[in-house]
Symmetry: C2
Subunit: 199 residues, 2 copies
Amino acid sequence: MSSLHFWFEFASTYSYPAAMRVEARAAAAGTTVVWRPFLLGPIFQDQGWNDSPFNIYPAKGRYMWRDLERLCRKEGLPLRRPSRFPRPSLLAARVACVGAEEPWGPAFVRAVYHANFAEDRDIADPDVVGAILATLGLDAAALAERAQRVEIKARLRASTDEAAALGIFGAPSFVVDGELFWGTDRLDDALAWARGARP
Amino acid sequence: MSSLHFWFEFASTYSYPAAMRVEARAAAAGTTVVWRPFLLGPIFQDQGWNDSPFNIYPAKGRYMWRDLERLCRKEGLPLRRPSRFPRPSLLAARVACVGAEEPWGPAFVRAVYHANFAEDRDIADPDVVGAILATLGLDAAALAERAQRVEIKARLRASTDEAAALGIFGAPSFVVDGELFWGTDRLDDALAWARGARP
């Protein structure tokens, strides 16, 4: 049984429903999740974009917000459209790097997505990230300090480089034994791949 | 029960599996398909693209071909990667306009997709389109003549304008009572919408 690598970006809209359900769905399929925070910004820049394609291409953006609304209703997830999109995700992504192998990591990831997409809170604000950590019973000041260390900054950069090398061009993406699946609606296919069902 | 409007472009890769299964899936769901050929070229041009985004963005293109391969295997559809992509689809789309309300229309659409994506035949070639029509037992010469009439040209242009007005930015797209669904993997959602399951 292969593990499911879940590549996510906190600003990414479709990563929100994926992040909220990936752990439970993977557990039901008998596999585990490896949480892989990365930044889409540098990858988009390589494609010549300095903004989300959902902002650059208005028809695509209008459709995405409507589609996300339907998807969240279907999955019973609250959604409040962020008043700023995309929100800078660097700080939260660095904290997620710190938490990637810690027991609190998954809960932190879900709490950040909930703040951004269900509560319209500014996840770029250190106070908001600190409040999320505190709510999880963690030492916000100590973790914020760790998140800004050189080795964490380098780890997030290396992860983003690794994402590009894996062929990742959007989020969420799932990788199982090097096989890439893009989009929240490919989660079941990725889990089938992890179970060895490879058509 | 609302009908399912299926908006397709013959050059579009993901429209291939959608076209092959849409009629059977709609029938199983108790609804009917309205076949809506259109051209993506003018819509892509409005987004600043003079080629398929799968060619403009290589990582996206590499992923798409792999994803399409998995998808076709899963659905038991043959796939041979076209040696030219995207293939000019104007002639085939005009014939599809002629056939849109004829009994042979759906079979023609499927045959064109099969030629392009399972046999690597050049659907831009009038001889290939003629051969497809002949195989269906139709008068190829008469239909080719009809397809080039002013009113058919105008109908295809009007359909493409209508697609843009509906918010369509890619193919395949499904529209049910004005509600837009994009992508072959949204077919079930569109059919649920047609059945009145609207979350």
